[in-house]
């Protein structure tokens, strides 16, 4: 049985996030506006005013309250959604950590924007990177349709009995949040059906007055370690689960995205680029152009960032002559891109091939086709054994 095709509507990434959340019938929504996410809150409010969304809309005075509210709602057995960006994500940080430790299956849309330290109302992935150790599942998407679909999949993943972890769906501010594209809106009944499998699973532990539990107890020594262990194990299980959910989604709705990663023209590639978010879209067109010139380059789209898709990446990159990573953020302590430094940890399994870090797209700087052409040329040279620069800050070199 297949889902209906769904109405086609031109909408922005933010609007798609609101639609995705609305279709999943959350019980509680608590969200505070911040550029470039504000439209998500506005659209959800519009849905609520029109009676399309019957959630309890909690008007919070800040993001910290928003996360506390939604995490608590899920611990009471409800479904909850929120959205934020950069400064808002920072403001809710302690609650973000609590949500993960409490195993609260919140779904949050995070619209990637540069974090405090240098005031910027512009896109960058530093907020996602800075939150990588919070214990959340994190995915990154490429366009408006994928936002809508991935949010539905996120609820399915977060609330799964084997997982019970909060999920953050990241998308680039400005370049995707404000990007209007044609988006298919799944029918409500079909989303209900897709999520209905959760009802067949055992009831997860929730706060129920008829069956009282203590939640948020102190963790002591080995008991503490045991809980961390279980958290890490659940995160590890999320990899395979995400792939399965993506496949189910594809079988039912007709759209799937590859799960943890998507490989584009990598099978016979000599070398590959690894990147995430909007840069993937542009990279596809440059890879096609280079392929037409006879350059055997491939592209890997990183979708799941936490947990890090080690096995998939090893399989995709092992045997290639070089790999370059385009990061839209920085890893301060390693003076390179963060996704790059995480990939480097897999060197023993991948093999000692040239790995190049490219930092681009900070502060809404456009990652253009010429930038990606340069990336491909640099990796190609490294693949041929020529000397190469380990870390390149593309816009700064271009300016000079």
């Amino acid at each position: 049985m297949k889902a209906k095709q769904g109405e086609l509507k031109v909408m922005t990434g933010n609007s798609a996030a609101a639609y995705g959340a609305m279709l999943c019938r959350p019980d509680v929504v608590a969200s505070y506006p911040i550029t470039p996410q504000t439209e998500v809150v506005e659209q959800l409010s519009r849905f609520h005013a029109d009676g399309v969304l019957t959630a309890e809309m909690i008007e919070v005075e800040g993001e910290n309250s928003a996360m506390n509210a939604v995490a608590a709602a899920t611990l009471a057995g409800g479904r909850a959604f929120t959205a934020t960006s950069s400064w808002g994500l920072v403001y809710m940080y302690d609650a973000v950590l609590q949500a993960a430790g409490f195993r609260a299956p919140v779904v949050m849309a995070n619209v990637n924007r540069e974090t405090p330290g240098i005031l910027a109302v512009s896109s960058g992935q530093q907020d996602m990177i800075q939150t990588r150790d919070a214990g959340w599942i994190q995915v990154v998407v490429e366009n408006s349709q994928e936002i809508l679909d991935t949010i539905i999949m996120a609820f399915r993943l977060a609330e799964d009995y084997d997982i019970q972890l909060p999920v953050m769906v990241n998308y680039d501010g400005f370049y995707i949040s404000y990007l209007a594209e044609g988006v298919r809106i799944p029918a409500r009944e079909d989303v209900d059906q897709f999520l209905s499998v959760l009802k067949t699973q055992p009831q997860r532990t929730i706060m129920d007055p008829t069956r009282p539990i203590g939640a948020g107890s102190h963790g002591l020594m080995t008991e503490f370690m045991e809980l961390r262990y279980k958290h890490c194990a659940a995160m590890d299980r999320a990899k395979k689960k995400f792939d399965e959910i993506d496949k189910d989604y594809g079988d039912f709705f007709g759209r799937s995205y590859g799960g943890q990663i998507e490989e584009y023209r990598t099978e016979d590639a000599d070398f590959v680029i690894l990147t995430s978010g909007s840069a993937v879209g542009t990279s596809r067109t440059v890879v096609d152009a280079k392929r037409a010139e006879g350059v055997k380059v491939g592209l890997i789209k990183l979708r799941m960032f936490r947990p890090f898709p080690q096995e998939k990446l090893i399989k995709a990159i092992k045997g290639k002559k070089a790999v370059g990573v385009i990061d839209r953020s920085v890893n301060f302590g390693w003076n390179c891109g963060p996704l790059y430094s995480e990939l480097r940890a897999l060197t023993p399994e991948i093999g000692n091939i040239p790995m190049l870090s490219f930092i681009d797209g900070l502060a809404s700087i456009d990652i253009t086709k010429p930038h990606i052409e340069r990336v491909i040329d640099d990796i190609a040279n490294a693949a041929k054994g020529k000397p190469y620069q380990a870390v390149t800050w593309i816009p700064l070199e271009e300016r000079d």
Binding site: I118, L119, N335, Q389, A390, V391, W393, L396, E397, D400
Partner: protein, 95 residues
């Protein structure tokens, strides 16, 4: 690593405020500009006092806006007791 030339001398997002506090080309934000009728102007100075970015320049017996910074808010025209200032579309001044 490779980056050797920098556009700022500072290590962080600091700026030198002792010369000009205005480091943005706010004059390009204008859609209307104030035009002062020198005959009507009595040099009372109310426009200069009310101007939010303080960009009214004194010209001995009349005032005129510093067009590098004037954002075209129109407060000067509204406050002028002699109606000596009119706001005209910026497009009229472009060829």
């Amino acid at each position: 690593m490779a980056v050797k030339k920098f556009s700022s001398k500072y290590e962080a997002a600091w700026s030198d405020a002792d010369q000009l506090l205005l480091c943005l080309d706010t004059g390009t934000w204008r859609t209307k500009r104030p035009v002062v009728d020198k005959e009507k102007c009595t040099y009372c100075g109310l426009c200069a006092i009310y101007c939010p970015p303080q960009c009214m320049i004194t010209r001995k017996d009349f005032f005129e806006p510093n067009l590098s910074f004037c954002k075209g808010c129109g407060i000067c025209a509204k406050e002028c007791p002699r109606a000596a200032i009119v706001m005209l579309p910026e497009g009229d001044f472009t060829s």
